[in-house]
């Protein structure tokens, strides 16, 4: 066959070319970013930076919101170690929270809350380590005292506010913690109107919660009636912009239904700038209309109270720079974040340089008030600050953090986050004097960067070194679900006690001598004064009658660090824990006859197992 020679050659050439094409043109097996190798350039250096030797202490506390777990989680940084859980809106058997009378009363009928934004108390715009305020979606704000890391007060559900997402941001001297409606509703609550009346009958409400400067006690301050937008996040002005508080809003279309589409039609939504000092004055004068039992201010009737600053559409975070001169608003569906110049905003307000109004609230002109659109990357959400004029913006879509300079608006660095970062928090990064040093990316997805624990995957948080020009990823750690915002405070600013001093215990049922322990009866009401001390619960047994209402007041008379005791009563769903020097009560009805052992639940001593007794119900 004559074709053999040339034919084979041709076929060989064609074959080689085909194989070459196949080999050269195939998609890679991993994305380009992965090919660059780990972002940690020097593992040993990173390890040294995060390693806190056994017995050594962390440099910072991080208070992370626990989302719909309803709790606050405390981490040490740089180690990323989970130190403590502070129960706030959800029962927590580990500390007996939600079982004793006091915490049960605080929780009320709601046994869950969706915690979003912790706000450490501030003095002159800097964290003072006294209290931590946290919001939750059912219209409540709670105060945690950092003296003992315990929830002391839950205020709300506050009237008229619906879906309290834009909260609990505090003003620079903790004058107010704010609240805002994420879901506008017809108000007062209890009014029913179909969504076809959304634009006219539904309202958003902004609220100032007044905080007593000495006790931290929260009380209702003022409310402002707003157009039915979705109010999302907030931040208080500081230094140059002190006296103002800012809230982002989306769905300025006033749309209903499939909001992911209907609320994203306009190119710009708004940041509402609220003059809270004016709100305070108006409220003090008794201005406003009573709705839902409280006075509500209508901004259309009070010029100067609220202005709308147009922002990139569907903005999420609004963050004020440490000097208060810039308000950073991030339209989450864009690739830029906008820096508004507060001076320009004030000038525009003075000159009435308005583009129009929304329900009587003046709308400023975007071009007149913005300084720059910073090209940070896709899906910008939140911004935090460093001490050196740098800002850090989280990018959800790009799954990264962009570092950029205030004033020059230049993006200088990016670090990938694994994966899909939401909030970020830098050390004291929302105060007038950020520390720099560390930043934590609070990611929404962890996608297998951990041993598999099944479909319910932990949230990944990543510690980033921001001490140098280039950001460096130091550590992955896993935070309890679901961290929204978190704040990082220098450890030495927080000075917790370790035991409750005996002399401070003013509880009417507290006793300090086992001789005083025992049962007193008043009709079918029985009070048991009980003492817990290593290793006996006194009395060690007591009898009551079926149908009695019984209150057990348990005092832990220890004054030694870490000597906690608990009281668990089997089959009665009783579980309380008392810290050294603390008295707690638990009240219940003796519905079941029989013998019910009780015992110390919190391991205390060598004879912990012997710390038990019997409740006899006849």
């Amino acid at each position: 066959m004559k074709f053999t020679g040339t034919g084979t050659k041709l076929a060989a050439v064609a074959g080689t070319v085909a194989l070459g094409v196949l080999a050269a043109y195939c998609a890679p097996s991993a994305p380009k970013t992965a090919k660059k190798g780990a972002v940690v350039s020097d593992t040993a250096a990173a390890a040294m930076k995060v390693y806190v030797a056994p017995g050594d202490l962390d440099e910072y506390y991080m208070f992370a919101s626990g989302g719909h777990s309803g709790q606050i989680y405390v981490y040490g940084l740089p180690s990323g170690r989970h130190l403590s859980t502070i129960p706030v809106f959800t029962p927590y058997p580990a500390t007996g929270y939600g079982f004793d009378d006091e915490s049960k009363a605080m929780l009320g009928d709601l046994t869950w809350g969706d915690v979003h934004h912790p706000a450490l108390s501030e003095t002159n715009g800097d964290y003072d380590g006294r209290w931590l305020f946290v919001n939750e979606m059912n219209g409540r704000v709670a105060r945690i005292d950092l003296r003992d890391f315990k929830t002391k007060q839950i205020l709300g559900p506050v009237p008229n506010v619906s879906g309290n997402h834009g909260s609990a941001f505090v003003t620079p001297n903790t004058e107010y913690s704010v609240m805002a409606s994420r879901f506008s509703i017809p108000i007062p609550k209890g009014t029913a109107a179909g969504v076809d009346k959304y634009a006219t009958d539904y309202k958003g409400v902004l609220t100032g919660i007044k905080i007593d400067p000495k006790s931290g006690q929260m009380s209702f301050g003022w409310q402002i009636l707003m157009p039915p937008f979705n109010y999302d996040l907030g931040d208080a002005g500081k230094v140059a912009s002190d006296g103002w508080v800012f809230f982002t809003s989306y769905n300025t279309e006033k749309a209903t239904g499939k909001l992911e589409v209907t609320s994203a039609q306009k190119d710009r939504d708004y940041i509402a700038a609220v003059d809270w000092r004016l709100a305070e004055q108006l409220a003090a004068k008794g201005e406003g209309t009573t709705i839902g039992g409280v006075k509500v201010l209508d901004p259309a009737k009070h010029p100067g109270l609220v202005f709308f600053m147009p922002c990139g559409k569907s903005p999420h975070g609004v963050d004020v720079s440490p000097d208060g001169k810039y308000v950073i608003g991030s339209g989450k569906l864009q690739g830029v974040t906008t820096a508004f110049n507060w001076e320009k905003v004030q000038t525009a307000i003075r000159n009435k340089d308005f583009a129009g109004d929304e329900d009587g609230i003046p709308v400023l002109k975007y071009e007149s008030i913005k300084d720059a659109e910073v090209e940070v990357g896709l899906g910008p959400l939140h911004t935090q600050f460093g001490p050196d004029g740098y800002a850090y913006t989280s990018l959800f879509v790009d799954s990264a953090i962009a570092k950029w300079k205030l004033g020059t608006w230049e993006v200088v660095d990016k670090v990938p986050m694994s994966y899909s970062i939401g909030h970020l928090t830098s050390a004291e990064g929302d105060t007038v004097s950020p520390d720099g040093k560390y930043l934590v990316g609070l990611n929404k997805l962890s996608h297998g960067r951990h041993l598999s624990v099944g479909p319910s995957q932990p949230e990944s948080s990543q510690l980033v070194d921001i001490g140098e020009e280039k950001m460096k990823l130091l550590l992955d750690f896993f935070t309890e679900p679901e961290p929204h915002y978190a704040q990082i405070i220098k450890a030495d600013k927080v000075k917790p006690i370790e035991v409750y001093p005996k002399e401070e215990n003013k509880h009417p049922l507290a006793i300090w001598d086992v001789k005083d322990a025992g049962v007193t009866r008043n009709g079918n009401k029985v009070t048991v004064k009980m003492i817990a001390v290593r290793s006996t619960l006194t009395p060690t047994d007591f009898e009551i009658r079926e149908g009695d209402e019984i209150t057990i007041a348990l005092t832990n008379i220890e004054q030694t660090t870490d000597e906690l005791h608990g009281l668990g009563i089997l089959d009665y769903n009783i579980n309380i824990v008392v810290d050294p020097g603390e008295t707690k009560t638990v009240t219940f009805k003796a519905k079941k006859k029989g013998v019910f052992p009780y015992y110390c639940t919190n391991f205390c001593s060598a004879l912990h197992q012997e710390m038990q007794g019997y409740l006899i119900v006849r």
Partner: protein
């Protein structure tokens, strides 16, 4: 000119040699893999998708990676920018491609049996036209997907052309698009046809037909 036409006619009348006929059978066999292997593969990486989203395009179906889940995921993501859902039903190509490839298989065999150069030229020209049309059709489909975006979409992006061959960065995605075994087999079939023609040509040049009587 007349001479040229005559020569061409002569050439078209030449019976195919054994080699050429074998090559036609090879071309026929090359079509078989298109029923088994994908023609094209698109791979999309993003920071959140380290393993990538994979889309295999066969002559008659779309197959997503991860047991089909990747198509759902791609559609979920694309709905934000208002892109049409990828759905097998939307590809009219899937209805005629396998049929047309089958026809070509029969035409290749026909040429091998009937054995005239004209048959080979016929089928080669048709096949090249078919290849070009299929490529254009694929490209046009990609263009449509990247350009017919819902104006009401939450995220407005500039209309885009997904890559036909190679790599392109689209928003947070690295998109890679490469032909697969099925396409290479179609290419190989074309090469076999060309080879068959080359052989006939060489044979005709070497052994000119006897002068016309």
């Amino acid at each position: 000119m007349r001479e040229l036409i005559e020569k061409a006619n002569q050439f078209l009348d030449v019976p195919l040699g054994v080699g050429s006929r074998l090559m036609l059978i090879v071309a026929f066999l090359c079509l078989v893999p298109t029923y088994v292997f994908p023609l094209y593969k698109m791979t999309m990486f993003a920071p959140q998708y380290q393993e990538g989203l994979h889309l295999d395009i066969y002559s008659y179906k779309l197959v997503g990676g991860n047991d089909g889940q990747d198509i759902t995921e791609i559609n979920v993501l694309n709905h934000y920018i208002g892109m049409r859902d990828l759905a097998t039903e939307d590809f009219t190509e899937f209805k005629w491609l396998p049929f047309v490839i089958g026809i070509f298989g029969l035409l290749f065999l026909r040429a091998a049996v009937m054995g005239k150069t004209a048959h080979l030229v016929d089928v080669l020209v048709l096949y090249v036209y078919f290849g070009a049309f299929a490529l254009w059709s694929f490209g046009y489909k990609m263009y449509q997907y990247g350009h017919n975006l819902d104006p009401k979409a939450a995220v407005k992006v500039a209309p885009f052309m997904p890559p036909m061959f190679g790599y392109k960065q689209l928003a947070n995605f690295e998109v890679y698009s490469y032909p697969q075994l099925g396409s290479y087999a179609l290419g190989a079939a074309a090469a076999a046809l060309l080879l068959a023609l080359a052989m006939t040509w060489r044979q005709w040049r070497r052994e000119p037909p006897p002068a016309a009587e």
